[in-house]
């Protein structure tokens, strides 16, 4: 890169971590007596459920460690920013980045902070890192951006379980770690190609540390409004952009696959008055691959667009580079449509992370085991001063069965979380 040319930036390396336990979502719906006659249309299969000794830090660190281990000491020394994107924070002041930074043994001369805007947080974090690099203030610098979220709302009381009912089947857990730099092997950002749409709306919120409330219809309408208008803002900025032709693949925020399908249909009708058969074919071809991981871990909030991106990169033919359009929506609300390019080299690098194999190894929970976890008797609640975690709660799920080192929560001492490698 020389002065006067535009730097190339984006995602150098990425990994997805989907936890230790999974639950069959159809079995959950049946158990809850949810009448979902067209369950298949919702495009949900499994969701990750967090164990008491898993928290947003363990998810984040377990996602990031393979990326950090692969770096030379010189490259590791260039990580100058750790951005955690989450709506599952553990403290009002101290960011999760401080723990992540410590357990990954990252250099001390960096910026550590946390970003919140519901499921939009991940896109916001990536754009902060991208714009840090594009600013040119620290040439060759790198940023670690980690999305990490889990859902443990229902343990507050019976009322909370009731409020949560509308999203319980889709609420998952997972983290995505991304190294953002000027050597974007995995996803090269289209510089300046983005569009936003945002307004105040009370569609979904987390009014307390263990509760979530929301209105499915309002959230769906806000998502559809944002999808249309964020794309239109993108098209206003990017000369010649055409939703149908510009992007080989698309990744939309995925609370569950059915939502993505609805938004795609809305856009295709609104922009092109497309007919059902064309919409169906286009969805299967350009959006189908993006559901590969989301439908196995559930909604991962800020991480869902990156799980979608990982699914596309891992599963499609990339003998030719492809442009991917990404739409992120976070309740409340803020949204963004942006794009970038993926190719064969990034595919080889991402496949080395063996994301699907790790998801296959998760322990399959029975409904009884899930409900035991949901009661939350051994969960460390927000604001706990001291605690010792029971690692024998579900012996079959203990990460000794995994093939890489795993971070687990061990205890809380004077509000400080203590973790250990297994």
């Amino acid at each position: 890169m020389s002065a006067g040319t535009h730097p190339v930036v984006g995602i150098e390396a990425m990994n997805v971590y989907g936890g230790l336990c999974a639950l069959d979502v159809r079995a959950l719906c049946t158990h809850r007596g949810l009448d979902l006659p067209r369950f298949e249309n919702l495009l949900m299969q499994e969701k990750t459920v967090a164990l008491p000794y898993e928290d947003p830090v363990t998810f984040a660190v377990n996602a990031a460690r393979p990326l950090i281990d692969a770096l030379s000491p010189e490259d590791k020394a260039r990580i100058e920013m750790v951005v955690t994107c989450t709506e599952s924070g553990l403290d009002f002041g101290k960011s999760l980045s401080t723990y992540i930074h410590h357990y990954l043994d990252l250099p001390g001369n960096g910026r550590l902070f946390e970003i919140k805007q519901a499921c939009y947080a991940g896109a916001a974090g990536l754009q902060m890192a991208v714009n840090f690099l594009l600013s040119g203030t620290s040439p060759g610098g790198k940023a670690l951006v980690v999305t990490t979220d889990l859902s443990r709302f229902a343990l507050a009381d019976a009322n909370a379980v009731q409020e949560w009912a509308y999203s319980e089947p889709s609420s998952g857990a997972g983290a995505c770690a991304m190294l953002v730099s000027d050597t974007p092997h995995v996803f090269r950002i289209d510089r300046g190609a983005y569009g936003n749409h945002a307004f105040e709306v009370m569609d979904t919120c987390r009014p307390g540390p263990d509760t979530e409330a929301g209105d499915a219809d309002l959230s769906l309408m806000a998502y559809l409004d944002c999808c249309e208008n964020a794309y239109k803002d993108y098209a206003r900025r990017v000369e010649g952009a055409d939703f149908r032709d510009t992007f080989g693949y698309l990744c939309f925020h995925t609370p569950f696959g059915g939502m993505v399908k609805g938004a795609h249909r809305h856009l295709m009708r609104k922009l092109y008055k497309a007919k059902p058969a064309e919409i169906e074919e286009d969805f299967a071809r350009r959006l189908g691959p993006s559901l590969a991981y989301g439908q196995r871990v559930g909604n991962t909030a800020g991480g869902s667009i990156f799980l979608a991106l990982a699914g596309v990169i891992d599963t499609v033919d990339l003998s030719q580079p492809q442009r991917v359009g990404v739409f992120s929506y976070g309740s409340g609300c803020c949204s963004e449509f942006f794009s970038g390019v993926i190719g064969a080299e990034g595919q080889a690098r991402l496949r080395a992370m063996k994301i699907a194999e790790a998801l296959d190894r998760r322990y399959r929970l029975s409904i009884d085991e899930y409900e035991m976890l949901l009661r939350g008797e051994s969960v460390v609640r927000f604001g706990t001063r001291d605690a010792k975690l029971d690692h024998d709660i579900l012996p079959g799920a203990w990460p000794l069965t995994q093939d890489t080192p795993h971070l687990v929560l061990d205890s809380v001492v004077g509000y400080q979380r203590q973790y250990r490698w297994v």
């Binding site: 006659p37 769906l220 309408m221 559809l224 059915g258 939502m259 609805g262 249909r265 809305h266």
Partner: protein, 84 residues
């Protein structure tokens, strides 16, 4: 030509409900019914509202259509938006 009233809009909504959820083709549906009670899921409700807006030639933010508790109230709201 007669001006479209709220009942005409109910008819359009019901037609789209039957279109999106073929299982309801022969099911009686009226103003007092709520789509959720008929077994129409949230994605399908969104699709029905979008299709109805298209028919009415209305281009407004969807979040403005939040609140009605049944098909009749939705039709009344759409009727008002059309007149506005």
């Amino acid at each position: 030509m007669r001006v479209m009233d709220s009942d005409d809009i109910v008819e359009i909504i019901v037609r789209h409900i039957r279109d999106v959820v073929p299982e309801l083709a022969d099911h009686p549906i009226g103003r007092d019914d709520a789509m959720a009670d008929l077994g129409v899921d949230s994605i399908e409700r969104g699709e029905i509202v979008v299709a109805t807006l298209e028919d009415l030639g209305l281009d407004i933010p969807l979040v403005q259509l939040h609140g009605p508790r049944n098909i009749g109230e939705l039709a009344d709201l759409l009727h008002d938006k059309r007149a506005a």
